[in-house]
Amino acid sequence: MRRPGIRSLAGGAAGIVAGVIGGIALTSVSAASGPTAAVPDVDAVHVPPVLTRAGEPVTLRYAIVCAPRDDGEPCDGSGSVFVRRGQSGPFQQLALRRGEDSRDGRYFVDLPREIASWPAGFSYYATLRDGGSGATITVPAGGAAAPQRSVPLRDASEVALGTHPFGRGRAPDERVVAAAWGSEARDAGLLGSRELGFVGPSSFDVAADGSVVVLDQVNARIQHWSRVGVKATTVDVSGGLADFALEPGGAMDVLEPPSRVSPAAVLRSFRSDGTLLWAQRLSDRTWAKLAVGQAGPVVQQQPSEQWLPVAEHGAALGRAAQAGHGRPGQPFANGREVVVERVGSAELRLAELVGNAVVRSWRITSATPLGEVQLAEPRGDHLVVVAKTYSDDRSEYIVLVLARSGVVDSFAVESLEWAESAPLARFRLAGSSLYRLGSTAAGLFVDRFDLEVLR
């Protein structure tokens, strides 16, 4: 071996130094190049009173959220509500007052009785301002074009559920999907640990031919489960807790949560072969539920608390176009929409709208707290509702089949949720059957419950 010369040694040393510096620089650039979206200078929280009772006083409350002040005090906020009687016509401006307590929103206005009790309801939007930065926000983002719409519960069917008897859940009619945890063809992907909790397939849907389609985002695939077997389609998804819906034309929509690389929520639409059709950022900050309306996918979003279309007839809508078409209810193929409002801890208000008019409504009260509404869908003369009821250490789903006269069928479903899924993606209604996504330590399953009164 030849003895190295001084030039070789110097060159080698210089090379290592340059290499380390270059490597650090490259890694730093790579690490720093992350999300580019920014937290807005001002944000808002508002829970709209979408369904009101006769004579009920209405106070509109807003939280104005801004950059933290160095003195630790809340925003120096202000704003106005633009409100009108009914669902069309000019708005009148009412200034928001600043209250002492922020638990339900520090900024508020009591609606004049003549507006709050107007027979056709009222509609409104707000502009909110942070005095520190001068930034403003309109809520909902659609403003006058797509305001919050509130309608009165007129002649609502009253349903009193009483105290829920836990432990009497109905057995399913059939287990249509059963998959062990894993990554093989008939498995379901599982992510996490005992210490951090587990995430399984986050959503599912039921195709027109009755096959069950599971979003196995952990394994980056969509599985079609039918009586003849399981077919998997690879899709490029982030792996986060996403919602999922099948469109009638075969497109597969995946509603992705924010993540470390994409801090804004995105809806991705895939062809049936798994190739991407389009991806579109949502108008709002947060999403609750994905569904398919008459013209394409719609998403219930916050802070607007509206259902916003994200695409129409196969073409994605920009954020402003989404916001400009916000509606209070989930749209359905029959042209109607269903409005849901959980009030307090144990009251649920539901209404079916045609345009901005209520055609049927229900007010459900319970002696046991009511949690999230998983599903509220019309079927002929009925409305099928799945909501969770809970105590501090137990929970179950209650399934209600409602007619104008009240409850025509009801039963409980045990909540088997060992692995986490998307928040409002546990149930799907297809034909006269209800499907439920569940999990245990052994794996994932989908059960079918036949609703006899709908047959």
């Binding site: 630790g72 924010p258 949690g371 809970y390 501090d392 928040p423």
Partner: protein, 202 residues
Amino acid sequence: MKAFLVAFAVGVVLAGAAGAQAYHRFWANCNYDAPTFMTTMTRDAAQDYANAARYEGYQWGGGCWNYDDSDSYPYDAPGDPSAHGEGGDCSGLTFKTWRESTDDWRDGRYYWRALRNVHGPYTAGDFRNGLGAPNHVVAKATAGVMDAFASPTHIGMVFARSLWGGDQIVEAKCEACGTNIFYRTYRSDPSYGGVARWGWTG
């Protein structure tokens, strides 16, 4: 020149493989300043504080971030406190948002700036059990804005309630999730309990 090129390549490999510069880097920006003792603590100021931590990442055992709307180290190894990346974890974010003391017997209000590197003494399970003088357990049905839901492994704060009965939760849940606001159904999940901070002033 050949020796330089070979050594340059070795240097690049060393820089990347050791990861020495990747680890301990973000915490080099953090400080250990004393918190500001406060007489006030409002729920909307807490919303401001937690909301501003969005996009700033997640670090297991962490509690230090800036306000550049980006996780400086989004691919740290999950569950590795020695990664020293940007962001809080779930209990660190809650501790700082709730202006708590590192002494669990103190129930005063201590304002920690974002770059102050502090996680606090509580795990998610500790919060769930109401441990520490400033904390207590509440019925889930009554949990309101900037109260929280905690399981043995996670805690998230109620940013707002929502029409369909779930909650908008501000949380630092995992390395891949970052810190953000998500719609969750912890309220009705038996593995979660309701917890709250004493001492809100508005």
